[in-house]
Structures are given as structure tokens and as C-alpha cells.
Amino acid sequence: MLRIAIFDYGAGNLYSLKAAFERNPNTRVSIIDSLKNILDYDGLVLPGVGNFDPAITSIGQGKELFIKAVEDKTPILGICLGMEMLFNKSEEGKLNGLSILDGEVIMLNKKLTKIPHMGWNTLKLEMNGGNLLNGIPDNSWVYFVHSYRISPVNKGIVIANSEYGITIPAAIEIDNLFGTQFHPEKSGKTGAIILKNFLRACRERT
């Protein structure tokens, strides 16, 4: 039985993410509101609903354990805001990010396109899509809802981009750290494969 933890920043809508993981066999998902036991899980998910500062605040004292989990190569998937939090800072908030990855989070340009970037868009794979996008064809459709984009210092971590007025990094991967700007749990069959790939990374590590 794989044990996956989804961290709840306090905002709430985690049911559909949990349900999406639990459609896979032998997967038990716990929704946790403290990171104190994260080293007991096979994988950790930082979900994509909420605002930057309250989400960072909710991690609070758990930050050191989170860094430890990254160093231990516990598979971690950050979705949307959950990925943005891994960087140094965001234009959405005043607080510092988790600084696991170097780079910042920038607001999309209102002059170029409507904001939020909401709806289905296609993936342009880089680095063959890494392990996370294994089995996903180029130009597959996934569901985005976001107003900010990441700008990583190390461009080599980007495994897919998407075009929305500008090029938006859509997914990242480095070791066992994964991130998506889109919502795999809402991206139909393509999203289901991506979640399965994350679970495989969790299984291979145990």
C-alpha cells in the first residue's frame, strides 16, 4: 500500500485531488495539516488551491522537515501554487518562498492575454518529458488555472512548456521533485497518466 500525503493549507478543496489519486489501486491518501510526520509517507503533494502567503504561513515550522524530505529524495509533487511555493519568492505574496529551487514567480501579463490563464492548453515537451510525463504525447491537452508563472534560474528543470501569449513553463522535474503549473487531477486521461507516473516514482523509492 502506497501512502501519499496531501498537505492542506487550510483553504479546502482537496477532495477531487484525493479522489484522483485513489482511483489508482493500492494507494491510500491522507490529508495532513502539519508536516511533522511527512517522513513516514511515500510521497507528498503540495496542492494547487489557495494564495501564496497563507499557504507559506501554513507550512510554518514544517519547513525544515520539508527540506529534509527533499534531501531524502522523497517524491514531491507541487501543483500550481504548490510548485510556485518551491521557489524564492512570488509576486502574489510578500513572504519568502521555500527556496528549494532558485527562481521567482511572476504575474502573467494582462496586456497580452486574459488573466487567469483558464482552460485547456497543449504541452510542448522538453527533455522528453522526464519521468513525470512519460507516455504523454507532445501537444497533449491539460487544464490550467493560474495567474502566475515560474521563472526558474535553472531552465534545465523544465520538462514541458505551454504557449499563452508567452512561453509558460508547464512542468518541472529534478530528481524526485516534480511540479506542474496545470492541474493533473483535472486534466482527464492525460492527467491520470501523470498522477500514475508520480505514484510510480513513489513506489520505486520504497
Binding site: 483553504a11 479546502g12 478543496n13 477532495y15 477531487s16 479522489a19 484522483a20 482511483r23 488551491v49 489557495g50 494564495n51 497563507p54 501554487l81 494582462k110 486574459k114 488573466i115 487567469p116 490563464h117 483558464m118 482552460g119 485547456w120 492548453n121 497543449t122 501537444n139 491537452w141 487544464y143 488555472v145 493560474h146 495567474s147 504557449e163 499563452y164 492541474h183 487531477e185 483535472k186 486534466s187 482527464g188 486521461k189 492527467g191 491520470a192
Partner: protein
């Protein structure tokens, strides 16, 4: 490939069952919401909208179960609206598995609710539904005289915001209101033409253009869809991001995949 235009089937739910109203009246039963949601998802729906039209409190509790049952089987985004009066109602619906909540009457009665929802759940969760009704130029001056924060002195277009399921006038100009809810924190506008709703003779393109030109958030057009050509015209002639339709899908008149192929052949960016 640009962002795709979204096709969104709408399911009106009364006491746990999907129904379709014509002009908000004359209700007919159409089926089980979970089964329909699954079917539409498999046919290629880009998103789903559930509108709870239940009057009673028990019925609303039923809706929460419907939301959870839908979230169990559906892997595309879905919005729930209707009967959400305050923060707590919205929280319940989101906790039960909905991705977005849509508010209409509650936003007009308490505009601060839009901001509150945005701050807690994020802008992407907040859909403001605007039911707009055309007023002839003769009726329009009455709107200006009414006491309202958002009615403007020189109304050059005459769409009024309606609440309580399209039944009650507000004296609020729809364009001003759209701009207002954007600034309050709405992530999206679900725009329904009260005049067109249920007629199946096409979306109101002028209204759609007026609203989508006024804001920079996505606009879902609703009301009047009777055949795939209506959706094609909507996407050719307006800047709408999504088309909401109910009756054309409910009775298997057109399947979603057929409608999407038709739109793709018509040159619209469509997910397939």
C-alpha cells in the same frame, strides 16, 4: 495551438435530479447527475456546471452529496452554483469536491463575498454569474433613477442584472457590474441572457461582446443554444472563452464529441 475554447454542459439540479427549465419555468426531469456527468466527461466535455435550483434546505444538503459523488468519478473541472448565500455555503461545496463556486444573487446582495472567497480560496474558484436582461430604451431611464451604486448616468446599452433566478430586477447595469466583480476578485464570469435562455434560437452575441470587451477575465456565454451552429457563431463573432449549453446535450440531440468535431472543422481551437 492557442488555449482551447471550452464546451460546458450545464446541469440544473433539483433535489438531486437533473432538470431543464425553459425561461426558468416549466420544468422537466432529465436524469441522474452523476451518470450524466460521467457521460459528458467521456464525450469530451471541457468542464461541467451544476446549478442547484432546489428551494428547500434538505434539497441543498442533497446537493452536497451529489457534489461528492460527481467528484469521485469526474476528472475534469466542475463548478457548482445556486443556493450559495455566504462563505460557509461556498466552503461546504468546495470541501465536498467542487472546483469552483458560482454566485449570483449573493454577490449582488453582498459584493464583499466575492473578495472574501477570492482571498481564501483563490481567484480561480470564484465564478460570478450574471443574468442580464435587455431593457428597451424607453425602460432604460427607469434603471438610472433607481438607487444603485453601479447604475451609470449615461447608459448606452441597456442590460440589467437580474437576481433570484432571473425573476427580480436590480437596477444594476450589467457592464458596470461585470467590471465591478472583476475588480472585487472574480476569476470568471458566467453570463446568461435571460431573454435568450430556453429559446434555443442562439446566444446573444451583442451582450456577450459588451461584457467580454469590458473585462479581462474569461467569459462563459450562456442562454439560447439550440444547435452546434450557435456555438460556432458565438466563437466566430465574440471573444467568449466558453459556451455553456444544456438542452442540446440532455436529450442526446447532439453528442459533445460531434459538436466539437463540427467546431474544429469550423476553425475553432478545440480540445480533442
Amino acid at each position: 495551438m492557442p488555449l482551447s475554447k471550452r464546451i460546458i454542459p450545464c446541469l440544473d439540479v433539483d433535489n438531486g435530479l437533473v432538470v431543464k427549465g425553459v425561461h426558468f419555468l416549466d420544468i422537466k426531469i432529465a436524469g441522474d447527475p452523476v451518470k450524466l456527468a460521467k457521460k459528458y466527461t467521456e464525450q469530451g466535455a471541457d468542464e461541467l456546471v451544476f446549478l442547484d435550483i432546489t428551494a428547500s434546505q434538505e434539497g441543498r444538503d442533497t446537493m452536497r452529496d451529489v457534489v461528492t459523488n460527481v467528484a469521485d468519478v469526474v476528472n475534469i473541472p466542475f463548478t457548482v452554483g445556486g443556493g450559495i448565500r455566504n462563505l460557509e455555503d461556498a466552503r461546504q461545496i468546495l470541501r465536498n469536491g467542487a472546483d469552483k463556486v458560482s454566485i449570483n444573487t449573493a454577490a449582488v446582495n453582498n459584493p464583499g463575498l466575492v473578495t472574501e472567497l477570492m482571498e481564501i480560496f483563490g481567484r480561480q474558484c470564484v465564478v460570478v454569474a450574471i443574468d442580464a436582461k435587455f431593457k428597451s430604451p424607453i425602460q432604460a431611464p427607469k434603471m438610472v433613477k433607481r438607487k444603485s451604486t453601479y447604475a451609470t448616468e449615461n447608459i448606452d446599452n441597456t442590460y440589467e442584472v437580474m437576481i433570484y433566478g432571473g425573476k427580480k430586477e436590480t437596477g444594476i447595469d450589467a457592464i458596470q457590474w461585470a467590471k465591478k466583480v472583476e475588480s472585487l476578485g472574480a476569476g470568471e464570469i458566467l453570463l446568461t441572457s435571460v431573454d435568450a435562455d430556453g429559446t434555443e434560437d442562439g446566444y446573444r452575441l451583442d451582450l456577450t461582446n459588451l461584457i467580454s470587451d469590458a473585462v479581462r477575465i474569461p467569459v462563459i456565454a450562456s442562454g439560447g443554444c439550440g444547435k452546434p451552429e450557435h456555438i460556432l457563431r458565438l466563437f466566430k463573432e465574440t471573444d467568449a472563452d466558453a459556451a455553456l449549453a444544456a438542452s442540446i446535450f440532455h436529450y442526446d440531440k447532439y453528442s459533445i464529441d460531434k459538436v466539437k468535431s463540427f467546431l474544429r472543422e469550423g476553425g475553432i481551437s478545440i480540445r480533442f
